[in-house]
Symmetry: C2
Amino acid sequence: MYLKPSARLAIYAQGEFGKGHSKTAEGVIRYARNPIAAVIDKSEAGNSVKSAVGIDCPAPIVASIEDALQHKPDALLLGTAWTGGHMPESWREDIITALENGLDVVNGLHDFLADDPKIVSVAHEHKKLLLDVRRPPDNIPVAAGLARHVKAFTVLTVGTDCNVGKMTTSLELWKEAKNRGIRAEFIATGQTGIMIAGGSGIAIDRVIGDFMAGAAEQMVVEAAKDHDLILVEGQGSLAHPGFSGVTLALMHGSAPKAMILCHKATKKWICELEDFPLPELTQLIKMSEAIVDYVSPAKVIGVAINTVGLTDDEAKAVIERARKETGLPCTDPVRFGAAQLVDAIQTAKENYK
Amino acid sequence: MYLKPSARLAIYAQGEFGKGHSKTAEGVIRYARNPIAAVIDKSEAGNSVKSAVGIDCPAPIVASIEDALQHKPDALLLGTAWTGGHMPESWREDIITALENGLDVVNGLHDFLADDPKIVSVAHEHKKLLLDVRRPPDNIPVAAGLARHVKAFTVLTVGTDCNVGKMTTSLELWKEAKNRGIRAEFIATGQTGIMIAGGSGIAIDRVIGDFMAGAAEQMVVEAAKDHDLILVEGQGSLAHPGFSGVTLALMHGSAPKAMILCHKATKKWICELEDFPLPELTQLIKMSEAIVDYVSPAKVIGVAINTVGLTDDEAKAVIERARKETGLPCTDPVRFGAAQLVDAIQTAKENYK
């Protein structure tokens, strides 16, 4: 079970909001159906969400969990990761304060709240939920290529790196497809996507190696029963030394019929590792098509460029350059809308044999 | 901790010995330093190990755990997987009998004995070890491409499928390299390899997605401290719909400087999935080299062909055909020795810049 769509969220991003590691906080603010009661970050307290992260959202930024309680939240959502191996004591105290004040807690980290005996006992005492969205279900099968046989048209986002906009692109495609009356489903494969999708989805990167592809396969086969277009949130990058295995498992497990390549204009290095330059778009397109082909013959049919930090003119120039380089429809779906890319999907669907 | 090298093993392969799913049993019999006391399989009881699986081993095949006790084993090693979701009651009874009779139990399955309260309590009472070799260590980091900077020459086996001989090939290369006086290390990445390597290694397929490559990286960096040649046991296949993610994580995490392609002559389908033909050797070589290159520029420098089930003449013909097709040194290292492949590694090492 998950939160009600009406549950008001206090977003916990202490010291990190808009600092480059608040992807979960920003994704939830931008896309979740739940209203935002407040954002907690003492380094940005008093500023607007718009000024901190560029998203229109009327919720205030406050300094502490105690201040957030004034805005009547129903749940605390952990919107950043801590650094280092263990949860800081200040986080634990804030989570306990939240539970004691009647809030459920939503957590997308690899470490589960339900494994912390103190937090569990407080949650139990106050009859509050601890939602560890990254905990995978039991009994995921090994993938056997079943997703390639579904009737629905499956589109996977792939990327030049992690944190370039694969989830955002899949969500923008989903919104645009639904506006056009297409029976489209978004499949969440990461913690933020799951929070946005109201609790459905599996965090593939938290699944045991042998079963990652099976998790993706299972979700696509299930979604295909009552949808015509399936938009699968991609993970990582084939070029990422740490996460490429997750990326490939998702490619082979979801067996897409088309892919959208996602890229962030201002990135130079894979996950800030300065001896890993980002791959060339055309080279990554070629590699993605060649390797997905073992399971499903899919082409990259469009490019989504995250132009955050650029002016409109700079963004247009970057997009135009990528269009020339790849010969594919390119846009920034957040800045300029996803219409072009959904057009490309509809054309690909008509031409798919 | 693990078993003493002198611990005598009873290999549990009830109903499965030599039937195609006793890879662990056969690998341990062929390569482990521990003496084999007996093999347990009532369907083969009284036959020789040689007639059942083609390996020279004087241990008897007996019908039951009780019969095996006559041969003074120190440990019971589970040498096959059960079919279906739960451990059969007959296995549990046999494991408990083994513990009650003073045997430790070694288990390579995804399900851990230490999670079974009844088995744990019997083991505790009799002060016996439960060795779940697939349980990964805590605190594995995310890979950051560190293994590509080691001075040692790392060689990874890759395959056209799982169960084609990647572990066996790495072990044969290791034996041959050590015979030549090379400071070589074998890195186990699967349950059988770990049992053979005396308990060291990490079962990559049991690691959570985000940390698979990190596990490989950590082992290579550690082994490189006092070895010149590192032979990494490969897993799965880039062409396998269920396991390709594990394969790629291992490729990028271990950052090999050369690869050996492994293939089984009589296989036609990926893991018996009859809509997945095995990839062509040349095509898989090209793909492996292209994708490992994101982290480490490595070439496939030889091919190991598992010719089990063929006559010597048939085996030679298959090997000759692969040699012509790929232009690389090819052999069956079990049937004809690994000398050619170790020659190829030494040449590659000299030419590596």
